[in-house]
Amino acid sequence: MRGVQAMSELDDIKRKNTEQLDQMSTDDLEELLKAKSQSSENTDMEDVFSILEVIEKREKTNPSGKYTGVDAAWDSFQKNYRPSSKEAKSIYDFAEDTKDNTSYPSDVKKLEDINLFRRDRRPLRRKALLRMACVIASVVIVLFSSTIVARAFGFDLWGAVAKWTSDTFGFESKDTTDEGTVTGPPVIKYVDLAEALYDYNIAAELVPSWIPNAFSLADLKILETPKKIVFDAVYNNDNKSITIHITDISEGTNGSYEKDEQYTTIYEKNDIIHYIMTNNEQIVAIWMNENYECMISGNLSEHELKKMIDSIYER
């Protein structure tokens, strides 16, 4: 009897989740999808399919024109992509690229525990459904709060004002939000900062192509929080170091940076104002470009720092 009651509760939770998703706009569902795609948990696939089902249902009744119809896609598949033999490979399998990361699922067995397309109809685990309910509830709150404006239209760069006091410097926006918690270490190791930004579909000119001789990349970290992505690259040369720090500030700025009391100057390049200052014998440049707050700091001369900045825009 308790089993029947639990099943009923689970069905109820699932129905409520679907109802909540149904009430969200397609744009918000797509944003939720993007957020979910960052998760490495296989169990999140249940949530992803629930979102996809809602969007698909809407596309069927009211096509947005954003997505190719299945008949045209099937024709293209038959004509352009269908392999001629079982020896064929993925279109993006360029041998050395996929040596360490096969295109095929390596952990299909794990997926068999998930109630998606499976042949046995065991109920979804209660924990997973409750977790999904919490996720949807929190997303709904976030999306329908005042920050939705910033999310939908991008961070208000015009409202961001460079503000400095005698010992701090930072960009300030009208909307200051809690940055949330770090979700975990990066999964992919990158060999340079430009590659990492490209992988995150960041097209803005942010990375210097010139770095002083003898400096080489020592560390590259990418930290993702629910509210921002931070790229941190450190270049070393003996005891000297240069740090490049790029933050996606679509939802708020980094806050302030420490600086020495006296020196703040402005360097304009490519119609972007770069604020140059010193802090503890290091020179620091801070600027904003599109939705990104950028910083270079290190044991550099002002001439070298400006040369690095110039090189960002030379490509």
Binding site: L33, E56, W74, F94, D97, P105, L116, I188, A194, Y198
Partner: protein, 163 residues
């Protein structure tokens, strides 16, 4: 029980028609690009055809496809990022003589004869202009498979000469 080729074909088509839209919505949003998203899904079903026995043995074909799509997207991003890096590494090695990567300099000169103007144009379309392989192939009037092989050869040339 072993299925015939026709039965396997029917299985793929049924699955394709059932799953294409959902997978396409996912890929397009993750890649933020219509043609690249669609190509990722097409490649997923290409792999499904190649690994048909594994797919049919799976108790969760829908999950199998989604997992494959995620891996395809990941490989796609990695391949493109490496091609971009390849362009810049090669350009940096020649930078002292020829300056930066741009259209004013003949790529045949800039890349020391390693790459032809046609190959450079293809690489630029794929890497910098975010063409799908199908879009690039259609412009060149060749098949997707031939375009892939051409990219593979360009990569090998770069690797041999600049790494």
């Amino acid at each position: 029980m072993m299925l015939s080729k026709n039965e396997q074909g029917l299985f793929i088509e049924t699955l394709y028609r059932e799953m294409f839209t959902q997978l396409n919505i996912y890929a397009q949003n993750v890649l933020r690009d219509r043609s690249l998203g669609e190509e990722a899904v097409q490649d997923t079903f290409r792999i499904a055809c190649i690994k048909i026995d594994e797919l049919m043995a799976s108790s969760n074909p829908k999950g199998w496809l989604m997992n494959t799509l995620k891996n395809v997207i990941s490989n796609m991003k990695r391949s493109r990022a490496r091609m971009l890096r390849m362009l810049f590494v090669a350009a940096e090695m020649n930078e002292a003589s020829f300056g930066s990567v741009n259209d004013d300099i003949d790529p045949e000169i800039m890349y020391g004869g390693v790459i032809s103007s046609e190959d450079f144009a293809l690489l630029k379309k794929i890497v910098l202009e975010r063409y799908s392989i199908l879009e690039a192939a259609e412009e060149l009037g060749i098949s997707v498979e031939a375009c892939k092989k051409r990219l593979q050869r360009i990569k090998e040339k770069f690797k041999k000469n600049f790494e």
